[in-house]
C-alpha cells in the first residue's frame, strides 16, 4: 500500500465508523482504535514529510479528477508541518485520555471516541485540502462534532455552551458559504490555486466583499474578536481531553484556514493591517478577560484566545521571520495549551470544584501534575529557557524589523497581564492553604507518560530550538511562495 496524504483523513474517518462496529465485539476497542489510527497518522508524516521537505509539495488527486476539476489534497511543508503536529499532539491527547471516564457507561465512551476521531479527521482535512468547498465541508464536520462534544456531559451548562457554539458556528457556515458563492460566480472555480490565479481579474468590490465574508466566517473558527464569544463556554464545558483538542487542533485548523485563504487565495491589500489590528484587539481583550476569571478552564480558554491573537498579529506582519514565528507559536501553543488543559483537568478532577479556589495547595496531592502545569504556564508566558520564549522572540524581532515599536510595547504589556494571572494560578497551587473538600485521583500512568512527553518537548526545544527551526523556515517559505503553489497544482 502506498501511503498518500489522503490517508490522513481517511484513516480517522474509517476508524470512527469502525469503532462503532468493533466495540460491539470487543468493548475496549473504542479506546484502542483511535490510538492506532493516530499512530498511523504519525507514520504517514514520517514517510511523507521527508519527501515534501526535499522535493516540495505533494498534490494528491481524488478519484482521478485532475485539479482544477476535481478535489485535490495538498501537502506543502506548511500544511505538512501542521498535520504532523496535530497527529503527534492528538496521539498524546489520546494517550492522556485513554482511561478517561471509566465511571461512565461503555456506550458513552464509544460516542466520545467517535466524535473526537471525527473532529481530528475534520481538522486534518481543513489543513490539507486544496479546495474551498471541501474546506467548507471539513469545517462543518469539525463544527458538528464540536457542538456535540461540548454538550457531551448532559447538563444545563454544557447544553447552553453547545447552543451558543451552534448559533455562532451556523453563522460561520452561512457566511463561509456566501463567500464561496461570490468567489465561484466570479472565478468559476472552487480550486484554491485556480481561484488564486484568476483573482487579479475579479472586480475589487466583489473581491473585498467575498474576503469580508471569509474573514468573518473563518474568524469565528480562528477565534478572532469579536466573533469568539462561543469559545470560553465551549472550552470550559467540553470534556477535558476535548478542551485540549479544541486548543491544540481545532483552533490551529481554524487559523490555518484563515491564513490560507487570506494569503494564498486572495490578493487584497490591507488584510495584513486588518490581521494585526484585530489580532491585537483579540489578544488584549482576551487577556484582560482572563485576569478576572474564577474558573480554571475558562481562564485557560481566554488565554488560548490571546495566543491566537498573537498568532494572527504575526501572520499580519507577513515577513518571512514573522510567519516563521507565527508557525512556531502555533506549534508551541498547541503543545503548551494541550498540556495546560491536561494538567488543569486533573486539578478539577481532584478538587470537585471548577473554580480556581479548588487549586489551593494542590501540589501536596498532585506534585507531578503541579510541576507540569507550572512549567507549561511559564512556557506559555514566554520565559526562557522554554520553547514559548523563542516563538515570542521571533515575532518581536519581526515586528522590530518592520519598525512597529508600539506593537512591540503592546504585545509585551499584554504579556505582563498574562504573567499576572498565570503567576496567581501557580501561586495558588503552591502557596495557598488548602481549604476545599477534595477527592483523591492520582494521575494514571498513561497520562503521566503523555504529559512528560509534551513537557520534554517544551524544554528540549527551548534549550535547543535548532531541532525544528529548519522545518519552520521551509514551512514559512512555502506559505509565502504563492506562485509555486499555483504552478505546482495547475501544472
Amino acid at each position: 500500500m502506498v501511503i498518500s496524504p489522503v490517508h490522513y483523513i481517511v484513516a480517522p474517518l474509517l476508524a470512527a465508523f469502525a469503532i462503532a462496529l468493533l466495540s460491539k465485539i470487543y468493548k475496549n476497542a473504542a479506546r484502542i482504535v483511535p490510538g492506532i489510527v493516530l499512530f498511523y497518522n504519525i507514520v504517514i508524516s514520517l514517510v511523507l514529510m521527508p519527501q515534501v521537505l526535499e522535493k516540495g509539495m505533494i498534490s494528491e488527486v481524488i478519484a482521478g479528477w485532475e485539479a482544477p476539476w476535481g478535489i485535490n489534497l495538498v501537502l506543502t511543508p506548511f500544511s505538512g508541518f501542521l498535520t504532523t503536529a496535530v497527529s503527534v499532539i492528538g496521539f498524546a491527547i489520546w494517550l492522556y485520555g485513554y482511561k478517561f471516564k471509566v465511571r461512565l457507561q461503555g456506550g458513552e465512551v464509544k460516542y466520545y471516541e467517535i466524535l473526537q476521531m471525527m473532529m481530528i479527521a475534520g481538522s486534518l482535512g481543513v489543513i490539507i485540502t486544496g479546495d474551498l468547498f471541501n474546506m467548507f465541508v471539513f469545517i462543518e464536520i469539525v463544527g458538528i462534532t464540536a457542538y456535540s462534544l461540548t454538550a457531551f456531559y448532559r447538563h444545563r451548562d454544557g447544553a447552553e455552551a453547545s447552543f451558543k457554539y451552534l448559533l455562532i458556528g451556523s453563522l460561520a457556515s452561512i457566511f463561509l458559504l456566501m463567500g464561496i458563492l461570490i468567489i465561484y460566480t466570479q472565478t468559476g472555480s472552487l480550486n484554491m490555486a485556480q481561484i488564486a490565479e484568476r483573482m487579479p481579474m475579479v472586480p475589487q468590490t466583489m473581491k473585498v466583499t467575498a474576503l469580508i465574508f471569509f474573514l468573518i466566517a473563518l474568524g469565528i473558527e480562528a477565534e478572532m474578536f469579536p466573533m469568539n464569544g462561543w469559545a470560553p463556554d465551549a472550552y470550559s464545558q467540553a470534556p477535558s481531553p476535548t478542551s485540549a483538542v479544541f486548543a491544540a487542533v481545532v483552533s490551529v485548523a481554524g487559523v490555518y484556514a484563515l491564513i490560507r485563504v487570506t494569503f494564498t487565495v486572495f490578493d487584497v491589500e490591507g488584510v495584513h493591517q486588518y490581521l494585526i489590528v484585530m489580532g491585537f484587539v483579540t489578544m488584549l481583550v482576551a487577556e484582560i478577560s482572563a485576569v478576572a476569571q474564577v474558573n480554571l478552564k475558562r481562564m485557560l480558554a481566554y488565554s488560548s484566545l490571546g495566543q491566537m491573537g498573537l498568532v494572527l498579529i504575526a501572520f499580519g506582519i507577513g515577513s518571512h521571520l514573522a510567519v516563521f514565528g507565527a508557525i512556531f507559536l502555533m506549534l508551541n501553543h498547541a503543545v503548551i495549551k494541550a498540556l495546560l488543559f491536561m494538567s488543569g483537568s486533573y486539578f478539577i478532577y481532584n478538587s470537585d470544584d471548577k473554580r480556581l479556589i479548588g487549586l489551593n495547595g494542590i501540589h501536596k496531592r498532585l506534585p507531578f501534575v503541579s510541576a507540569i502545569f507550572s512549567i507549561a504556564a511559564f512556557a506559555i508566558i514566554g520565559f526562557p529557557p522554554f520553547s514559548g520564549f523563542w516563538s515570542k522572540f521571533y515575532i518581536l524581532i519581526a515586528a522590530g524589523d518592520e519598525n512597529m515599536i508600539f506593537l512591540i510595547i503592546g504585545i509585551l504589556m499584554v504579556t505582563i497581564i498574562e504573567l499576572v494571572y498565570y503567576l496567581r494560578t501557580v501561586a495558588r497551587i503552591y502557596f495557598y492553604k488548602d481549604e476545599v473538600e477534595h477527592t483523591e485521583h492520582k494521575p494514571s500512568i498513561n497520562a503521566i507518560v503523555a504529559m512528560s512527553f509534551l513537557t520534554l518537548f517544551i524544554i528540549v526545544i527551548g534549550i535547543y530550538p535548532n531541532l525544528i527551526t529548519g522545518y519552520l523556515h521551509q514551512a514559512a517559505d512555502s506559505l509565502l511562495d504563492k506562485a509555486s503553489y499555483i504552478q505546482h497544482i495547475l501544472k
Binding site: 469579536p226 524581532i397 509585551l412 504573567l419 495557598y432
Partner: protein, 615 residues
C-alpha cells in the same frame, strides 16, 4: 570544552543534583551546594583566563560568551559573595524545611548571574537575565504563604516590566544595527541617545529596575526583607549589581564616543540616582525592623552607585565600580549580621531586642566595621568611595546641587546606621535575650571575611582600583593608573592611606587595652525595665524605652517627605487596572444572542467601511 561553559554546567548540574539529593538525605544538601560553588569558584579563578570565548548558534542567531576584564570584575562580586553566602547558609538554614529547593534555586541564581556577566550577545544576556530573575523569585517566595501575594508578585511584575523593556530595546538594536552581539552593537554606536531615543531609555528601565532605582524600587525592600537573609546578602550585594553592570556597559560607550555633558539621559539617570539615595535613606530611618532598614539602605546605596555612573567621567565610573564591590562587602556582611541576630535571638525587630553586644560580640564587631564602611567614615573603605563620588560630582561634572543631595543623604545615613547598631547591640539588655548565644563559627567566618574587605580597602584601595581600572579599560576608557595605597585627585594632591592603616591598628590595640584594663567593672548593668522614675508614678502605656519612636523628632520634621509613598501609588494603579479589567471583561456577556449580534454588527461594519479598510 570551554571553561565558561564548564562552570555554567557545574552550577546547573550542581543545582539539580542538590535539589534531588535533598530527597535522599537532607544533611547532604548543604554540603552538595557548598561543594558545587567551591568547585565552580575554584575552577574559575584557577583556570579561566581573560579572552576566553565560546561561540555557538541557537535558532538563527549566533551567540557568544566571553570573559573580559569588565566581566571578570563583576565575577569577583558574583562568585566571591555567593561562595561566602553559601558558607553562611550552611548554619543559617540548618533545620529549615525545603533545603533542596533553597539550595537548588540559590545555585541556579548564581548560574544566572554568571551567565549575565559573561554574555557577549543580547540574547544570552536576556535569557540569563530571566533565569536569574525567576530563580531569585523562587527564593523570594521561599517563606511560603504570606509572601507570594505581596512581595513575590511585586518582584516578579517589576522584573517582568524591566525584562520586557530590555527585550524591546534588544529587538530595536537588532533592527537598526542588524546584530545581537554587544561588542558589535557598541562599536556601531547603538546606544547613542540622539539617534534612537528609546533604546537607551528602555535599556535604562530594564537595568534600572534590577538596581531598584526610584520610582521602580518598590519591589526591593519587601523582597530583600522577606528572603532568607543568607540569600539577601547575595540579592542585594550581587544580584542588584547586575543592573549596575548593565548601565555601566551601556552608558560608558556613549560617554566615550560623545560628550557626556550634553547627554540628557545621564542627567535623568543622575537625578534618579540622587532621589533614590535620598528617599531610600529617609525611609530607612523610620523602619523598626532591622531587615527592612537594611533593605531601604540598600536601595539608597545603589542610588549612590547610579549617581557615580551617571557622571560619565572616569572618576565617577571608577567610584561606582569601587562602591559596587564595597557595597557587596558591607551590605552582604550587614544582612548576614541581621540573619545571625534573627537566628539567635528570634527576631530582628529593633523595638524588641537590644544590648546583644555582650551575647554576640563578634557579630557586633562585624556590624560595627560594616556600618563604618557604609557611613563612609575614614579610615575604612567606604570613605574612599564617597570621596571619589564627591570629587567626580564637584570637580569633573560641576554638579554641585547633586553633590549636596548626596551629602544630605549620606549624613542622614548616619542616623539609621546609628539606629541599627544601637537598636540591636547597644543599650540595656532585655531580659528575654539573656541566653542568646554567639552565632556559629561558619556564619562568623564569612562575615569576618567581608569585614576584612572593608578594612583592607580603607588602607589599600588599590586592591580594588587595579581590577576596576582594567575593567574600565575593557569598557574603552583610557588606562588609569592607581597606586596601591594612595588616592590622588586632579590637582595632583595625593593622600597617603598607609598611615591610616597604622592608625587603625593603634586605635584597635589601644581600645582593646582600655576595655580590658578598665573593664566594665565600674558600670552597672541594668535591664530595660529597671528604670528609676524619681518617685513619679508612671502611667499605663507610657513610653519608657528608647526603642520606641526612635527618631520621632526627625520624623516629625520630615513628615512631608513621608507622604510621598510610591508603594501606594503603584498599588493604587494596580487596583485601578484590575477594576478596569473586571469592567472590561463584560464584553463577554455569556449571552449567545449578544455574541451573534457582535458577529453581525462586525460584518456590517466591515462591509460599510470596506473601502477604507481594504483599500
Amino acid at each position: 570544552m570551554n571553561t565558561l561553559t564548564i562552570i555554567l554546567l557545574i552550577l546547573t548540574i550542581g543545582a539539580a543534583f542538590t535539589y534531588f539529593i535533598n530527597a535522599v538525605n537532607h544533611k547532604l544538601t548543604a554540603i552538595s551546594a557548598f561543594v558545587t560553588i567551591t568547585i565552580a569558584t575554584g575552577y574559575f579563578f584557577g583556570l579561566a583566563e581573560l579572552g576566553d570565548q565560546f561561540k555557538f548558534a541557537l535558532g538563527d542567531f549566533s551567540m557568544q560568551w566571553g570573559l573580559n576584564a569588565f566581566s571578570y570584575y563583576f565575577i569577583y562580586i558574583v562568585l566571591g559573595l555567593s561562595w561566602l553566602a553559601l558558607l553562611y547558609s550552611i548554619a543559617y538554614m540548618e533545620g529549615k524545611a525545603r533545603l533542596g529547593y533553597y539550595y537548588g534555586a540559590f545555585l541556579l541564581t548564581i548560574a544566572g548571574m554568571f551567565g549575565v556577566v559573561i554574555s557577549q550577545d543580547f540574547i544570552s544576556l536576556f535569557i540569563f537575565w530571566e533565569i536569574m530573575t525567576w530563580a531569585s523569585f523562587l527564593l523570594v517566595i521561599y517563606n511560603y504563604y504570606y509572601n507570594i501575594k505581596t512581595e513575590g508578585m511585586k518582584y516578579m511584575i517589576f522584573s517582568a516590566i524591566g525584562a520586557y523593556a530590555m527585550l524591546t530595546a534588544i529587538v530595536f538594536i537588532h533592527h537598526y544595527y542588524g546584530t545581537f552581539l554587544i561588542g558589535e552593537a557598541l562599536s556601531k554606536g547603538a546606544f547613542s541617545f540622539n539617534q534612537h531615543i528609546f533604546i537607551p531609555i528602555f535599556l535604562l528601565l530594564g537595568f534600572g529596575i534590577k538596581a531598584a532605582v526610584m520610582p521602580f524600587h518598590v519591589w526591593a525592600p519587601g523582597a530583600y526583607a522577606k528572603t532568607p537573609m543568607s540569600f539577601t546578602a547575595v540579592f542585594s550585594g550581587a544580584l542588584s549589581k547586575m543592573g549596575i553592570f548593565g548601565i555601566a556597559l551601556v552608558f560608558s560607550t556613549y560617554y566615550i564616543t560623545h560628550n557626556a555633558g550634553g547627554f540628557i539621559a545621564s542627567q535623568i539617570l543622575a537625578w534618579m540616582g540622587g532621589i533614590t539615595a535620598v528617599m531610600g535613606t529617609i525611609y530607612a530611618l523610620i523602619q523598626t525592623d532591622a531587615k527592612r532598614l537594611l533593605a531601604y539602605s540598600s536601595v539608597a546605596q545603589l542610588g549612590y552607585i547610579v549617581v557615580g555612573l551617571s557622571t560619565g567621567t572616569k572618576l565617577g565610573i571608577m567610584a561606582a565600580l569601587y562602591l559596587a564591590v564595597l557595597h557587596a562587602a558591607f551590605k552582604g556582611a550587614l544582612f548576614m549580621v541581621a540573619g545571625a541576630v534573627e537566628k539567635q535571638a528570634g527576631t530582628t525587630d529593633m523595638t524588641k531586642i537590644s544590648g546583644l553586644i555582650k551575647r554576640m560580640p563578634w557579630t557586633f564587631l562585624v556590624a560595627l566595621i560594616s556600618i563604618i564602611t557604609l557611613a563612609g567614615v575614614p579610615p575604612l573603605g567606604g570613605f574612599v568611595g564617597k570621596w571619589l563620588i564627591y570629587e567626580a560630582l564637584i570637580t569633573e561634572s560641576n554638579n554641585y546641587f547633586l553633590a549636596i543631595v548626596i551629602f544630605f543623604s549620606s549624613t542622614a545615613a548616619f542616623l539609621y546606621s546609628y539606629r541599627f547598631l544601637f537598636g540591636l547591640f547597644l543599650g540595656q539588655e532585655e531580659e528575654d535575650t539573656k541566653d542568646v548565644k554567639e552565632a556559629p563559627v561558619t556564619m562568623l567566618i564569612p562575615m569576618l571575611m567581608l569585614s576584612f574587605v572593608s578594612i583592607i580597602t580603607g588602607v589599600m584601595p588599590g586592591l580594588v582600583f587595579n581590577p576596576a581600572a582594567k575593567a574600565m579599560n575593557a569598557l574603552g576608557f583610557a588606562d588609569t593608573n592607581w597606586d596601591m595605597t594612595s588616592l590622588s585627585n586632579i590637582w595632583g594632591n595625593t593622600t597617603d592611606l598607609s598611615l591610616i592603616g597604622i592608625f587603625i591598628i593603634i586605635v584597635f590595640i589601644l581600645g582593646f587595652a582600655v576595655l580590658t584594663l578598665k573593664g566594665r567593672k565600674k558600670t552597672k548593668s541594668v535591664g530595660t525595665k529597671d528604670i528609676s522614675s524619681s518617685g513619679e508614678l508612671w502611667k499605663e502605656g507610657e513610653n519608657w524605652t528608647f526603642q520606641q519612636d526612635f527618631f520621632k523628632p526627625f520624623q516629625r520634621a520630615a513628615a512631608p517627605l513621608y507622604k510621598f509613598d510610591m508603594d501606594k501609588i503603584w498599588s493604587d494603579m494596580g487596583n485601578a487596572l484590575e477594576a478596569f479589567f473586571g469592567f472590561f471583561r463584560k464584553v463577554y456577556t455569556g449571552n449567545g444572542q449578544t455574541y451573534a449580534i457582535y458577529v453581525i454588527a462586525f460584518l456590517a461594519i466591515l462591509l460599510i467601511f470596506k473601502d477604507y479598510i481594504f483599500n
